[in-house]
Structures are given as structure tokens and as C-alpha cells.
């Protein structure tokens, strides 16, 4: 294998030779430089292959002496991997910088770039302490030089600060070197590590204090890193990419060299501070470069933290090097890629600014490659699956949990959530629909009626608002050169492939690959302009086939949910057959979401479960984001969802993975075993169950954490809302049933988690219903209705009895059916009328009779009046509640059902009945493709209603293994301790009861007095706006006077206060970085003293 010294010599040699190549022409120079980096990359890849095949590390003793006389260069497998990452980023980075259209790198910039490479190679390979100093300075000087060539004049100021800070670090390092040499008598790092016993007191400890501080300062740790952010802000983003990816990676390797001398607790404390603080500071950044800089220093902090993480059971004993290396790799590629996008976009906005023109970056819609790359890199940076960072983070987090380092765990997950906030805000900004000002989180009522002759009145009105918002799409000219594009896409692909390979290695292969395969395959079909209709047919087939193959392998609750996800999803996707032929990403994301949901049902380990959970979250987030005004809703959705996911991760970590220990696969332990192992964990067990319950409740949109739900469901595209509301909402329900009896674990001797769940369920049911009652926008009304219905399901589950659980599953299925129908029915209406506001519709029964019938049947089913399936659900629910003795909850659930009846009545009345608007005289029936799924669901509802045994008996068998049955059957009648329900008989009786009045009504039809459109009298009341003259506007105004207080946005205000508090905290923290290099110097000295105190035994 090539000797390590040639790598350094090669890079240095090329730096000298480059001017000769450039003299032959710029193309020759660029080509030669690219080829040189490619050769370096090939060398390091060859090293990986050679070292992986076996044999010891490659050592080069310079000048033919052995250590300590020589300066050793050594390459282990880890080093080879790190060098390959550095070379990969270097290759992409050079391509991005040298091949861009404007101010591409040439001359001294290329030379300095190669010097930077020399420094980084040296830092990774050298095993001599003083040599580390030399290479530190070499890369430092190269960076200063490159900063000096920057276009932004502020770069000099930033460079000066960097020089002051780095000079201090070098001085500390040299003092450390001097004292180490004095104590050990050698500068060879292996010798020094071998003399760890010498570092107990006196100058030796002082030496260590200075060395550690110097290395940490070079890693730019918060809170002593203000100078670093100035560079990230002022430097060319392409340079920032190299700085963040190459320099930080190499310096992190230096830290790993001296690990044996360091107390892991020091690294843990330093790592936590370096990870958490920048995330807080980053929240208010209005400059993309600076925001990414904060993220960079935080990620390096995470690496430091990961290095401190010990083996399971033994806090901080071992060293988790592989996880740290993977984190470095992930961060290097993702961050570099984001910086390249920033450099190509030339749009420095982050979405955090107060002033409108500072707020949102230009949208990348219509630039699919850049958009997909941006999304992939952002997701990778956040450590979401399937990217490599996820697998490392999972390891770190579960190890932290196993070693009971709960405080650190909380900081890691909390910091990650803050990172989600600001990275996702930017991602939402660049991927929102052009024209979306990303503020829509509630229904929007236009100021006035549109002119009567304007059929698409509402739309025109919206367009007007949007033009005023001044939102721009990134134009062709704003993308500079192809280099950045190539580099970015290559980085994203490397991340994706390595992440998928890691997933395969972690044993999550098949379900993960199915999701990724669906995503990629349909995205490729989009790329070659295959129409949505064709894709939808393929997708329905694919989902159907997956479900069909899955069903024989499953039993119990997973089987029920697999059918719900698979069949429900496939049927609703039929609606995609209508509508525009080109809707990029729609089928791809929908299929991926359904595949992830199906994967959940056969996940056989907590890891698999969590991966699929995250994939489901991500794909649904992107689906919401596709909506016309979905950005703000999608942002809330992803923040709450990932908050929920991190809670779940914490639950897994704290319980030592005992929750769902074997997942739901064949090896799954019975509920008894799960509870026993949780009980063995004691308090940690019940806390982890509580965390899991909170995670699930957040995902279900329970009251208090429901803020994401209304806009998330309502602002998605019309035919997607149904999928989200009817299927996606069941993922959390599935986990409830998966966890099963663990939720019966008492929190304290007097408070059970189940009774908490029950009350939250009731509160959600009422809050959702009350909110749904007062919406003018039909989709918001339905979204709140979903929230309310899921509250019933939680309530039913919390009863913790056989009957309760049968009810929960039964409600899940019927809710899927009728909410799917309602949303699709409404999608048809909205697509024909062009409005979502109920008071702008009316009298559509004659124009859209099939939609009317479907919506009518759906609302009968929802409201729980006989004879349809909803009645059965309500009857089972009240029976179960009374059996448990929850009388108050039963009464409140009944009240909520009454409210539900009101909003459903309003829905059918104001849309289909009453007078038709003149502009709707010509609307046609909804497209056939939208009607087909609705009528398939009607068949299912009718079947369930007539023959409840068809559905309830299998549900009983699903529950039986966990809770013994209390329900018996007699023919078609279900018998519980409180009575019986014969669906068949109820159906016949009710039909009779309805048919008699219907016939009578038909007889008296002739005597009807027809009300004209403006047949309204105002008694001493002056209408303020024209729409308030419409009876359907503020339909329940009188109830609002009575109950309006209940719908005051207290929770919205609470979360707004949280946001305000976070923003002001962020400002307090970032004010620490005053911009004055002398403050920074003082901070570094302070950092030294803190490290000194730590070594003196004063543990922070």
C-alpha cells in the first residue's frame, strides 16, 4: 500500500506544481487539480480495502528512525475512513468551487486549497504531538489565506478574529507540548498515552489542561466560539463547507488521539455545552451561513459528546469511536452540501427574520434536483433515517439511556429538537409553494364576497393576497454554475447510499428498502413525465400487493391495522386518477407513507419500529408541504412530530428498549413479559411509559399538543387530506395497541397512566368538536372533527377492558372509512366549486347528487345515529365506559357527540341543501375517480352496519390474547353485560322509521313554500360585512355566544408564549458573542480556567 507520507507529499507537491498547469490554461489546471484529488481519494479508498482485508495499520517512520526519534505517520482503518470522507468532500468541494460560473477558484486559491488538504491529512495521520501543532497551523494559515480572497469585505474582520482565537489555541497547545515533553520526555503520542500514569499532578496535569483546551478550542466549542460563527457568516459558503467538513473532521481526529488521557466526564460536559448552546443561539439567526455555522459547531459538540459515551451499564467506560466517526461523516457531507446549496442560491435568508423581506428564502419549487438535494441534506443533518447520522445517533442515545445518563440524554434530544426547528424552517421556506407566505395555520376568511359573476372568486382573492406577500421563486440566473449542483447531488447520494447500507447492516433492511424503493421509483417516474394516473394505478397495485403478502404473516392488532393502512390507502389513492397529470412527488410520497405504515405492522425490533415511524413522519410532512398554502402547517407538523419522535426515542432509551422489546414480530414477548421487564426497571419503567404515551398523544393531536393538526390536515391537497386524517392518524393508535397493557402501569400508586389517557381522550373529543363547530372552512371543520374522533379512540383504549379495546379498534376502522369518504366527498365539491368556505356553497344537492349521498351516509355514520356503523361504535363505547364506572367521562363523551351532530348537520346543510348560488348553477358532479373510493367505503359501511359480527368477531379474536372476552353473540346480536345490539334488526327498524316520513313528505311536496335568496329580514341590526347577511356564515353564532369561551385559543397562546420565551432566550445566549475579538479571547481564557477547575476536581 502507498506510504502515508506520499499523500502529504503529493498534496504539497501539487500545490507547488499547480501554477505550471494553470499556465497551460485554466481548464488544464482545473482538470489536473480534480484528477489529483481523485488520485488521493483512490489512495485512501485502497487503504480502506487493504486494512479491512486484515493486517495492522500502515506506519511510516520518517527519516528511517523509529519513534520517538522519528515523526510517525500512521493510518488505521478509522483514519482511512476519515481520510476518504475528507477526500470525498474535497473532491466535491473543489468541483463546486472551481467549476462555478462566477469567481471560480483559480491561482492562489487552488494552491491554498491543496495546502489546506496537506494540513488536514497531517492532522489525521501524524502521531507526533508537535507535528499536530505544525499541521494545525498549516491548515489554519491556508484557511486565513482563503478567507483573504473572499468577496465579502467582512471576511477580513472575521479572519482577524479567527486568527486571534487560533493564535491563543496554538499558544496553549505549545505550552502544553512544552510541559508534556518535560514530563514524559517524548512527543510521540503513543508514548504519551502510555505514560498516562504520569498525568496525576503538577506540571503534567497543567500540560494536559493546556493541551485539552487547545484542541477543544480548535473544535470551536460553545460557549467560546463566537469567532467561528463570524467566519461562517462572512466566508464564501463554499469555503465554509470545507471549513465545516474538512477542518472540523480532522481536528476531531486529533481529539481522539489523546482520549486515553482524558476524563470522559470532561468530554461529556464540554460536549453537552457545545451541542446545546449553539442550537439555542441558532434559533434567531437571519443569515443562512451563520445559522449553518451554529449547526456545525453544535454537531462537532455532538461528536465530542459521543466520544465520551461509555459501554452499556458502565457510564463513560469505553469509547464509542465508530458512532463518533459516522457522525463526523454524516455531518461533513450534509453540512458541506447545504453550504454548497447556500452558495448556489445566493439567498442568505433563513425564515427567522422579523421583517417580511428578510423572512423567507426564495422557493426552490420548479427546481426539482436542488429541492430534493436540499431536503435530503437537511434530513441527513438532523440525523433522521435512513441517513447515516441516524444510526449513530440511535447508538449514542440508547447507550446514554442504558448508562442512565438521563440529563445528557435530555440535552441531546432537546438540542436536536431545536435544530429541527431552525433547519426545518429553512427547508419549509425553500420548498414551499411559490405564493405561500407560510403563515396559514388557521382558516382564512376573505374580507368580502367576490363579485357574483366570478366563479373562482375565492381563488382570485387568494392570488391577490399572495401577490402582495412578495414571495419569489429562485430564478434560473440565481443558480451559479453546475459545480455546486454536481457536488450537492453527489453528497446527497453518498449519504443516502451509505445510510441505506447502514440500515441493511442494522437489520432493518426489507421494510426500509420497500419505503425507499417506492419513494425513488415513483420519483423516477415523475422525472420521465409519466402521468399521475398511470403512477396511481401502479401504486394502488403495489400497495395492494404489499398488503396481500403481509396479511398471512400477521395476526391480532397488527393484522387489523395492516388491512386498515393497506386497503384504506389503496382505495383512497384511486382518487389520484382524476386531477392534473403532473403532480411531482405526490404518488411517490403517498406510497412511501403507506409503505412505512405497513412496515410498522411487522417491525420486529424497536429500531425497525422507530425507523419506519420516522419515515412515515417525513413522507407525510413532505405531503403536507406540497399543499398550496401548506408551509406553515407542515412546519408545525414536523416540529411536533419530531418532538414526539424524540420523546419516543427517550422512552426507548430510558426503558432500555424494553418497550416493544421484540417489536410486533413473531418473537414479540407477550404483554405480561413486557410489563414484568418494565416493572423490573422500577421508576424508569413507568417514566418511559409516560414518555411513550406523551409521544403518541402528540402524534394523535391530542388537545394541548394539537396545534399542528388543523393546518396539517386542512392545508394538504384536497385528496391527500383524507389519507392523512383517515390513515396516518391511526399510526399512533396502532402504537397504543402495540404497547397494550404497558399503559396500565401506574405512574404513582394513585394515578394510573390509563386514567390520564382517558381524561385526555375525553378532553380531546370535546375540544375537537367545539372547534369544528365554529369553522367556516369545511376542511378545517373536518380536521378538528378528526381530532375529536381520535379522542374517542384514545378514551376507548384507556378503558383497558376487552370491550373498550374492541370499541377502540372498531372506531379506528369506521373512522377511517367515514373520514376518508368525507374528505374525498369534500375534495370533489371543492374541485368543482373552487372554494372551501361553507357559506359560499349551498344547494349543491341537485348538481352533485352522488357526492351528497356519500357525504350523507358518512355523516350518519359519524354522528352515531342508527342504523349505521357509528351507532354501534357509540353503543360499544358507552357500554365499556359504564362497565369501567367512568360515568362522568361517558356524560362528556355524550355531550361531545351532540356537538359533533351539530357540525355535521351544518356541513350537509350549508353545502348541499338550501339555495344554490348563481355561480354554481353549472357545476358538475365530482369526478368518477373521486366517487369510486367513496362508494367502495359506503359498501363497507353498509356491510359493517348490517352484519356487525363480520367485523367485531375478528376484532375480539385480535384482543383475546391480551384481555379475556366479555362479549358474546346470538345470531347477529352482540351481547354485553349491559344489553345487546342487533345491527341487522336496527337497520330494518330504522329504515322503516325513515321510509314512512319520506313517503309522507313526497305526498305533501306540493305545499312547500320556496324561500328566495334574499328573503331575509333584519330587525334593527345592520350587517357589518356582506357575508354576514348569509345564513350559513357564523352558522352557530348563538352557540358561540354561549360556548365561545371554550374555543378561546388558550393553547395557541401558551405555545406562542413558549416560542417567545425561546426566542428571547436565544437572544440572551447569542448576545454572548459580542463580535469583539477581545471578548472572544477572554472567553477562551475562561474556558481554560473551567477546564483547569475540572482537572482540579471541581466537576461542573
Amino acid at each position: 500500500m502507498v506510504s502515508p507520507v506520499y499523500l502529504i507529499a503529493g498534496a504539497l507537491g501539487f500545490a507547488f506544481l499547480y501554477p505550471v498547469f494553470e499556465a497551460a490554461g485554466r481548464r488544464v489546471g482545473r482538470g489536473a487539480a480534480t484528477a489529483a484529488i481523485a488520485v488521493f481519494l483512490a489512495v485512501t479508498v485502497a487503504w480502506i480495502l487493504g486494512l479491512a482485508a486484515g493486517g495492522g495499520p500502515i506506519v511510516s517512520h520518517t527519516a528511517g528512525f523509529a519513534a520517538p526519534l522519528s515523526i510517525d505517520l500512521m493510518v488505521t482503518l478509522t483514519d482511512a475512513v476519515v481520510l476518504t470522507v475528507i477526500n470525498t468532500v474535497a473532491l466535491f468541494g473543489f468541483v463546486a468551487m472551481a467549476f462555478r460560473r462566477e469567481s471560480g477558484w483559480m491561482g492562489k486559491q487552488v494552491v491554498l486549497f491543496f495546502v489546506l488538504l496537506v494540513g488536514s491529512y497531517g492532522l489525521v495521520m501524524t502521531r507526533d504531538l508537535f507535528n499536530v501543532f505544525v499541521f494545525m497551523e498549516i491548515s489554519g494559515i491556508a484557511v486565513f489565506g482563503l478567507l483573504g480572497t473572499s468577496r465579502d469585505g467582512r471576511a477580513f474582520e472575521a479572519g482577524f478574529k479567527y486568527m486571534v482565537a487560533s493564535a491563543l489555541a496554538s499558544i496553549f497547545f505549545l505550552i502544553g507540548v512544552a510541559f508534556v515533553y518535560r514530563s514524559v520526555g517524548s512527543l510521540n503520542i503513543a508514548d504519551i498515552n502510555g505514560s498516562a500514569h504520569l498525568f496525576v499532578d503538577g506540571t503534567a496535569v497543567l500540560a494536559l489542561v493546556f493541551l485539552t483546551t487547545a484542541i477543544l478550542v480548535e473544535l470551536k466549542p460553545a460557549p467560546a466560539n463566537g469567532w467561528a460563527l463570524d467566519i461562517y457568516e462572512a466566508a464564501d459558503p463554499g469555503l465554509s463547507a470545507l471549513l465545516s467538513a474538512i477542518n472540523a473532521t480532522a481536528m476531531a481526529m486529533v481529539l481522539t488521539r489523546v482520549l486515553p488521557l482524558l476524563d470522559p466526564r470532561l468530554l461529556a460536559v464540554a460536549g453537552v455545552a457545545a451541542f446545546a448552546v449553539p442550537h439555542i443561539q441558532a434559533l434567531r439567526q437571519e443569515s443562512l451561513g451563520r445559522m449553518l455555522g451554529y449547526s456545525s459547531v453544535a454537531q462537532v459538540g455532538l461528536v465530542v459528546l459521543a466520544l465520551s459515551v461509555g459501554a452499556p451499564g458502565v457510564p463513560f467506560a469505553g469509547i464509542a469511536l465508530p458512532a463518533a466517526i459516522v457522525l463526523l461523516l454524516n455531518h461533513a457531507l450534509a453540512k458541506a452540501g447545504l453550504f454548497w446549496i447556500a452558495s448556489a442560491l445566493r439567498d442568505d435568508r433563513t425564515g427567522s427574520g422579523e421583517a417580511p423581506e428578510r423572512a423567507w428564502p426564495a422557493s426552490l419549487r420548479g427546481r426539482p434536483v436542488a429541492l430534493i438535494a436540499a431536503a435530503m441534506l437537511a434530513l441527513a443533518l438532523l440525523g433522521l433515517p435512513p441517513f447515516p447520522g441516524f444510526w449513530a445517533k440511535w447508538n449514542v442515545v440508547t447507550t446514554l439511556g442504558a448508562s442512565q445518563s438521563y440529563v445528557i440524554l435530555a440535552f441531546v434530544l432537546g438540542g436536536s429538537l431545536l435544530e429541527v426547528v431552525y433547519i426545518m424552517r429553512w427547508l419549509v421556506g425553500v420548498s414551499r409553494s411559490p405564493g405561500d407566505d407560510a403563515t396559514t395555520v388557521a382558516e382564512r376568511i376573505p374580507a368580502d364576497f367576490a363579485a357574483p359573476d366570478d366563479a373562482s372568486g375565492a381563488d382570485a382573492d387568494e392570488e391577490g393576497e399572495i401577490a402582495g406577500a412578495g414571495v419569489a421563486v429562485a430564478q434560473e440566473g440565481e443558480i451559479v454554475g453546475a459545480g455546486a449542483a454536481v457536488a450537492t447531488v453527489a453528497a446527497a447520494l453518498v449519504l443516502l447510499i451509505s445510510g441505506l447500507m447502514a440500515g441493511w447492516g442494522a437489520g432493518v433492511g426489507v421494510p426500509l428498502f420497500i419505503v425507499a424503493g417506492a419513494l425513488i421509483a415513483f420519483a423516477l417516474l415523475d422525472a420521465v413525465w409519466i402521468p399521475v394516473a398511470v403512477q396511481a394505478v401502479l401504486a394502488v397495485g403495489g400497495v395492494g400487493a404489499y398488503t396481500y403478502l403481509l396479511v398471512p404473516r400477521l395476526a391480532g392488532a397488527p393484522l387489523v391495522f395492516a388491512l386498515l393502512f393497506g386497503a384504506g390507502g389503496a382505495v383512497q389513492m384511486i382518487a389520484f386518477l382524476s386531477g392534473p397529470a403532473r403532480r411531482p412527488g405526490l404518488v411517490s410520497l403517498t406510497t412511501a407513507m403507506i409503505a412505512a405504515l405497513l412496515g410498522l405492522t411487522w417491525a420486529d425490533s424497536p429500531l425497525a419500529l422507530f425507523v419506519l415511524w420516522e419515515l412515515m413522519t417525513i413522507s407525510s410532512f413532505l405531503l403536507v408541504l406540497r399543499g398550496h398554502r401548506g408551509a406553515a402547517g407542515a412546519f408545525r407538523y414536523i416540529v411536533f412530530s419530531l418532538g414526539s419522535a424524540f420523546l419516543m426515542l427517550a422512552a426507548f432509551a430510558v426503558s432500555n428498549l424494553q418497550l416493544f422489546a421484540g417489536g410486533f414480530g413473531a418473537a414479540a414477548p407477550g404483554p405480561g413479559e413486557a410489563i414484568a421487564s418494565l416493572a423490573a426497571l422500577g421508576r424508569a419503567g413507568s417514566i418511559s411509559v409516560l414518555l411513550l404515551a406523551l409521544a403518541i398523544l402528540t402524534k394523535l393531536g391530542s388537545v394541548g399538543v394539537h396545534l399542528w393538526l388543523p393546518a396539517g390536515y386542512a392545508e394538504a391537497e384536497d385528496d391527500v387530506s383524507g389519507l392523512l386524517s383517515s390513515i396516518l392518524s391511526k399510526a399512533g393508535v396502532f402504537l397504543l395497541f402495540g404497547g397494550a397493557l404497558i399503559f396500565a402501569v401506574p405512574l404513582t400508586p394513585r394515578i394510573g397512566i390509563d386514567s390520564l389517557l382517558g381524561w385526555i381522550g375525553v378532553a380531546t373529543a370535546i375540544a375537537g368538536a367545539m372547534m369544528a363547530l365554529f369553522q367556516e372552512d369545511i376542511k378545517y371543520s373536518l380536521a378538528y372533527s378528526s381530532m375529536s374522533q381520535v379522542g374517542y379512540i384514545v378514551l376507548a383504549f384507556a378503558i383497558m377492558s376487552h370491550l373498550g379495546w374492541v370499541t377502540g379498534l372498531y372506531l379506528s376502522i369506521t373512522h377511517m372509512l367515514f373520514k376518508g369518504m368525507l374528505f374525498l366527498g369534500i375534495a370533489g365539491v371543492v374541485s368543482r366549486t373552487g372554494t372551501r368556505l361553507m357559506y359560499q356553497m349551498g344547494g349543491l344537492i341537485k348538481r352533485m347528487p352522488f357526492s351528497f349521498i356519500s357525504v350523507l351516509i358518512a355523516i350518519i355514520a359519524v354522528s352515531g345515529v342508527p342504523p349505521l356503523s357509528g351507532f354501534g361504535g357509540k353503543w360499544l363505547l358507552y357500554s365499556a365506559l359504564l362497565e369501567r364506572g367512568w360515568y362522568l367521562q361517558a356524560a362528556l363523551a355524550l355531550f361531545s357527540s351532540g356537538v359533533a351532530f351539530l357540525y355535521l348537520f351544518r356541513l350537509i346543510h350549508t353545502i348541499f341543501l338550501g339555495q344554490r348560488k348563481a355561480e354554481h348553477d353549472a357545476v358538475r358532479e365530482a369526478p368518477l375517480a373521486v366517487l369510486i373510493p367513496q362508494y367502495l367505503f359506503i359498501v363497507a359501511i353498509m356491510a359493517i352496519s348490517m352484519y356487525p359480527n363480520v367485523i367485531i368477531k375478528p376484532l375480539q379474536t385480535a384482543i383475546e390474547p391480551i384481555l379475556a372476552g366479555a362479549v358474546s353473540w346470538e345470531g347477529y346480536a352482540v351481547i354485553t353485560s349491559l344489553g345487546y345490539w342487533n345491527g341487522n334488526a336496527v337497520m330494518y327498524v330504522t329504515m322503516g322509521v325513515f321510509i314512512a316520513p319520506l313517503i309522507w313528505l313526497l305526498v305533501v311536496k306540493g305545499r312547500v313554500y320556496r324561500v328566495e335568496q334574499f328573503n331575509i329580514v333584519y330587525a334593527a341590526e345592520r350587517p357589518h360585512t356582506p357575508q354576514s347577511t348569509h345564513y350559513a356564515y357564523n352558522f352557530y353564532g348563538h352557540y358561540k355566544k354561549a360556548f365561545g369561551r371554550l374555543t378561546e385559543p388558550w393553547i395557541e397562546r401558551f405555545w406562542n408564549a413558549v416560542v417567545d420565551l425561546t426566542r428571547s432566550t436565544s437572544h440572551v445566549f447569542r448576545s454572548w458573542n459580542t463580535g469583539n475579538p477581545q471578548t472572544y479571547a477572554f472567553q477562551i481564557v475562561l474556558y481554560l480556567f473551567l477546564v483547569l477547575l475540572f482537572f482540579r476536581g471541581v466537576v461542573l
Binding site: F130, I141, G153, F156, F160, A167, L174, H1067, G1075, V1085
Partner: protein, 118 residues
């Protein structure tokens, strides 16, 4: 003697740090840095110094056996040379950046050159 050198070097570093952290004038800050740097160089030399030692050149007067006892440790001297060169390069760069900062803001004072912050 060695002790004295070490004290001297730390005194130099302290003066330099004071200058670096308290002066507003960019050039003075850089001079402060140079002082600290020189202090470190002195420290390195002091670490290798041996009381009444001689140059570490193996000859008739200093046979190989005596080298370890009588010879001054040559490694720190080699290190100092490298450190001086690097220090020079950094100082030069700092000065050039100071010039560019002055050209941009027309002020040589550090508190007029802190546009980037937070």
C-alpha cells in the same frame, strides 16, 4: 536559571495577554500577540535547557555516554525554530488583515470593526 526563564516567559505571556485583551488599536493587539508568542518560545527553550550544559554535539569533549547528562536537549530548540517561523507567518497575516480592515472601515480600532456578531 531554568526556573527564572520559565517565570520570565510567563511574565512575557501575561504582558502580551494583557495587551491583546485590553488595547483597542489593532497593531497593539498584534504586538500583544507577538509578546505572548515570544514568551512561549522562551518557555520551550527553558524546557530543554540544562544548567551548565553544553551544545548537544557528539565530539571528543562530549562523548555519546555523557550526552544525556551534559548535553542540552536539542528537541525543544528545533521546536522553537518551527514555532518562530509559524509565528512570523501568522503575525504577517494578522497585520495584512488589519490593513484590509482599516481600508474597509477607515478605523484601526477594534470596536469599530465588529460588524459581525450574535
Amino acid at each position: 536559571m531554568t526556573q527564572g526563564l520559565i517565570i520570565l516567559s510567563f511574565a512575557l505571556m501575561a504582558i502580551g495577554m494583557w495587551g491583546l485583551m485590553s488595547r483597542r488599536h489593532l497593531i497593539r493587539i498584534i504586538i500583544g500577540f507577538s509578546l505572548v508568542d515570544t514568551g512561549v518560545h522562551l518557555l520551550l527553550v527553558a524546557v530543554g535547557y540544562r544548567e551548565s550544559g553544553t551544545a548537544p554535539i557528539v565530539s571528543d569533549r562530549l562523548p555519546l555516554e555523557l550526552l544525556a547528562r551534559r548535553g542540552v536537549d536539542p528537541v525543544p530548540s528545533a521546536l522553537v525554530l518551527t514555532a518562530i517561523v509559524i509565528g512570523l507567518a501568522v503575525t504577517a497575516l494578522m497585520l495584512s488583515f488589519a490593513v484590509r480592515m482599516y481600508q474597509r472601515t477607515r478605523s484601526i480600532y477594534i470596536d469599530k470593526n465588529k460588524e459581525l456578531r450574535w
